[in-house]
C-alpha cells in the first residue's frame, strides 16, 4: 500500500471520526491534523477508536496485520500518533519490518 493511499484512507476515517464526535468542521481533517496534544482534533476516546479502526481496516480490507500500540511506539521521542502522516509513516515502517527477512535491517536493506 502506497503512503499516499494510506494517508487518504486515514484522513477519510478521521473525517468520519470528527463527524461522529459532532465536530462542526470535519472537513478540516488532513495529513497534518494533530492527533495528540492540546491541539488534538479528536478527544482521547476518539483517538482510541480511530487507532483501533485503522488496525481493523488495514487487516480486513488490505490484509495488513499491524499492532499500532506497542512499547516501541510509546517509547519513541517523536510519537507516531502525533499526526495522520506520522502514523502513516509508522504503519509503513512496521509493516515493512514485519515482511523483511530476519537479520536484515532497514539500513542494510537499503544499501
Amino acid at each position: 500500500m502506497m503512503k499516499q493511499d494510506l494517508v487518504m484512507m486515514m484522513v477519510g476515517m478521521l473525517t468520519q471520526a470528527l463527524e461522529d464526535e459532532g465536530s462542526t468542521e470535519p472537513g478540516l481533517a488532513g495529513p497534518d491534523s494533530p492527533l495528540l496534544g492540546v491541539d488534538a482534533v479528536l478527544t482521547s476516546m476518539g483517538l482510541v477508536t480511530l487507532i483501533t479502526d485503522v488496525e481493523s481496516v488495514l487487516e480486513e480490507e488490505h490484509n495488513i496485520e499491524v499492532t499500532l500500540v506497542s512499547e516501541d511506539a510509546f517509547s519513541r521521542r517523536k510519537s507516531p500518533f502525533r499526526t495522520v502522516e506520522a502514523l502513516a509513516d509508522y504503519i509503513l515502517e512496521i509493516s515493512e519490518a514485519a515482511n523483511r527477512p530476519a537479520g536484515v535491517t532497514a539500513d542494510s536493506a537499503g544499501s
Partner: protein
C-alpha cells in the same frame, strides 16, 4: 446497546475450556444455544457440534490475535467472553518460587488482559458484549498459602473494573465471578483437610458447584444486564474485604 439480532446465533469464547470451570461453563452456554469457541494450550478432550476448540496460550499476544481472527473469520461476531483460563499454586510465601508467581501473573493477569483487549475490538463493532472474568473467594478471604494466586486474582478484579469503565461506551460489560472452592482439578490438587477447613470458614458451608457459577453467569449475560458492569460477585456467602 444493540442485543443480538433476531435469528442470529450468539457466539461465546471460553478460555481454559478443556476442563474445570471453563469446560462446565462452555457446556452450559452450549445448552443455552450458543456457538462456543473454546481455547486452551492443549486439546479440548471433548467435542460438541457447536463447539470449536483452538489451541492458544492466552498470555501470548500473537496466539490471542490469531484466536480472535479465527473467531471473526468463522462467526463474524462475538457476544460473550469468559476468561476462565488460570493457573494456581499453593505454597507458604517463604517457600514460593518466583517462577511460580510469574507464571500465575502471566496466565491469570496478562492472559485476561490480552483476551479482554482483543475480544473487545471484535465486540465493539456490534456495540454489544459481555465479558466475565473469573476470580476467587481466595481474594477477600486473604487465604494463607495463596499469595501469588491471590495477587493475580486481585489484579484480575482491578483490571476488570477499569475495563468496565473504558468499554462501557462500546456497550460491553465486564464483570467478575469469585467462585467458592469448586470440585475441579485445581482444587483436587490441594490437601483435603485444607479444603475442608476453608469450606468450614464460609457462611455457606458446602463446596461450590458449577451450577452456582452458571447462575451468576446467566445474570451477567442477560440483555437486561446492560447496566451491570464492573461488579464482583463472590459465592458461598463471602463478601468483599
Amino acid at each position: 446497546m444493540k442485543p443480538v439480532p433476531a435469528g442470529s446465533t450468539r457466539v461465546a469464547l471460553v478460555t481454559g475450556a478443556s476442563r474445570g470451570i471453563g469446560r462446565a461453563l462452555a457446556e452450559h452456554l452450549l445448552a443455552r444455544g450458543y456457538e462456543v469457541v473454546g481455547c486452551s494450550r492443549g486439546d479440548a478432550g471433548w467435542t460438541d457440534d457447536r463447539f470449536m476448540h483452538l489451541r492458544a496460550d492466552v498470555a501470548d499476544e500473537s496466539d490471542v490475535k490469531s484466536l480472535c481472527r479465527e473467531i471473526k473469520r468463522r462467526h463474524g461476531r462475538l457476544d460473550v467472553v469468559i476468561n476462565s483460563a488460570a493457573v494456581a499454586s499453593m505454597n507458604h510465601l517463604l517457600l514460593t518460587p518466583a517462577a511460580s508467581v510469574e507464571t500465575m501473573l502471566r496466565v491469570n493477569v496478562t492472559g485476561t488482559f490480552l483476551v479482554g483487549r482483543e475480544t473487545a475490538k471484535l465486540m465493539r463493532k456490534h456495540s454489544y458484549g459481555r465479558i466475565v472474568n473469573i476470580s476467587s473467594v481466595a481474594v477477600p478471604m486473604h487465604l494463607p498459602g495463596q499469595a501469588g494466586y491471590v495477587a493475580s486474582k486481585s489484579a484480575v478484579e482491578g483490571l476488570s473494573k477499569v475495563m468496565a469503565r473504558e468499554l462501557a461506551e462500546y456497550g460491553i460489560t465486564v464483570n467478575v465471578i469469585g467462585p467458592s472452592p469448586t470440585d475441579t482439578d485445581m482444587i483436587r490438587g490441594l490437601p483435603k483437610e485444607k479444603v475442608e477447613e476453608l469450606v468450614g470458614k464460609m457462611p455457606v458451608r458446602r463446596m461450590g458447584t458449577h451450577a452456582d457459577i452458571a447462575n451468576v453467569l446467566d445474570f451477567f449475560l442477560r440483555p437486561e444486564s446492560g447496566a451491570v458492569t464492573g461488579q464482583v460477585v463472590y459465592l458461598g456467602g463471602i463478601t468483599p474485604a
